[in-house]
């Protein structure tokens, strides 16, 4: 039993349990309401419960799911949906690359990582990045799985509940739940504002997103991402990161 790790949940089973415990707190609360909002949004878009559940089931990550629904609602082409979702979710690749060294162990088969990568999304990723490096190697993947799979299950349940909310709740409350999505992520990104290039990318993106949408809804995200992202990148490369905010 290695003792040179700050945290130890005793066993692989203990790591699963602790991950589950950590997830079924504030993360599950916020994501639960967020996904009720998503379920309501799918319902308001005029789609069926199966569409809502399949989206959360196999495409779990709020911004991409919302984009899919909203782009579908404005009759975007399949190519535009694929391009937009691909560009929104391209962050998942670097996120996966950064997380992998912290959850990898010598015994788990490769297929386990290919399967569990489906559960990499902002909330579970942030939790695993914080906790997993502090754990003995064999407890890391169990902690990540224990955190994200119950969290995903809560999202599935919330999607299902949320889908039927527009019929039951006053329209104002549904609006509030739908509103949770963009506000939650706005605050998530504001909370983590300090990395080089990030403030410029976020501010410029926030300005360009709505403006380009007025001109060309289909290509708005692509233009915004490439243009604002590249400018932010150039600025962050040009000005050295000598300050830590």
């Amino acid at each position: 039993m290695p003792s040179n790790y700050p945290d130890n949940f005793g066993s692989i089973k203990g790591a699963y349990k602790q991950g589950c415990k950590d997830a079924l707190a504030i993360p599950a609360l916020i994501l639960g309401f967020t996904y009720m909002g998503f379920g309501a949004l799918v319902s308001e878009t005029g789609l069926e419960i199966w569409h809502a559940l399949i989206s959360t089931g196999i495409n779990w990550a709020v911004p991409g799911q919302i984009a899919t629904m909203e782009l579908y609602a404005i009759d975007a082409s399949l190519f535009a949906i694929a391009a937009a979702v691909a560009l929104i979710n391209c962050r998942l690749m670097p996120m996966t690359i950064v997380l992998m060294p912290h959850i990898r162990n010598k015994t788990s088969p490769r297929i386990a990582y290919y399967f569990l990568s489906n559960f990499i999304a902002v909330t579970g990723w942030a939790a695993a990045m914080k906790q997993c490096p502090r754990l003995p190697e064999e407890q890391r993947l169990p902690y990540f799985a224990g955190f994200t799979i119950p969290l995903w299950s809560v999202c599935m349940l919330s999607t299902w509940i949320g889908f039927y909310l527009p019929d039951v709740l006053p329209a104002e409350v549904t609006m509030g739940l739908v509103f949770l999505n963009p506000v939650y992520f706005m605050l998530v990104f504001l909370a983590d504002f300090s990395q080089p290039g990030r403030p410029i990318a976020l501010v410029l993106g926030a300005i360009l997103g709505p403006l380009t949408f007025l001109v060309t809804p289909d290509w708005s995200l692509l233009i915004t991402g490439l243009f604002a992202g590249t400018i932010a990148f150039i600025f962050s490369e040009y000005f050295p990161r000598n300050k830590k905010i």
Binding site: N89, L92, M175, V183, M186, G197
Partner: protein, 119 residues
């Protein structure tokens, strides 16, 4: 089972195609991340550029969802959505970046303004 028949209508299958495409491109990134993990230097310029693009995209999408939403939020005025956003931001920073407080107050403010009209 008559319900099974309903699954193969264009109304059901067209969104499924969109969801399938979205899931495929999403998994592409996750799977690729697993495949190349350990081989890409996360301090490289390419990595930083992709990060900037991702954040710009997200910010653009989020701002657009707040200011020019599709769906139920579109029924509200710009003032109500902007007002709720400002309240959410104010509470977030006043509570030392408490996510729960910021999100809850923003949603509550929006619900109240939707019921009572803009402040």
């Amino acid at each position: 089972m008559s319900e099974l028949h309903d699954f193969f209508t264009p109304e059901f299958m067209a969104p499924m195609a969109a969801l399938g495409v979205a899931a495929a491109v999403t998994y592409f990134w996750r799977g690729l991340g697993v495949a190349v993990s350990g081989k890409i230097d996360k301090d490289s310029a390419l990595f930083r550029w992709v990060t900037c693009v991702a954040y710009a995209l997200l910010a653009g999408l989020i701002a657009r969802m707040i200011l020019l939403p599709i769906g139920p939020l579109a029924e509200l005025g710009m003032g109500q959505r902007a007002g709720a956003t400002i309240i959410s931001l104010a509470v977030f920073f006043l509570t030392r970046k408490n996510l729960l407080a910021g999100v809850a107050s923003g949603a509550a403010a929006l619900i109240l303004m939707a019921k009572l009209g803009p402040l």
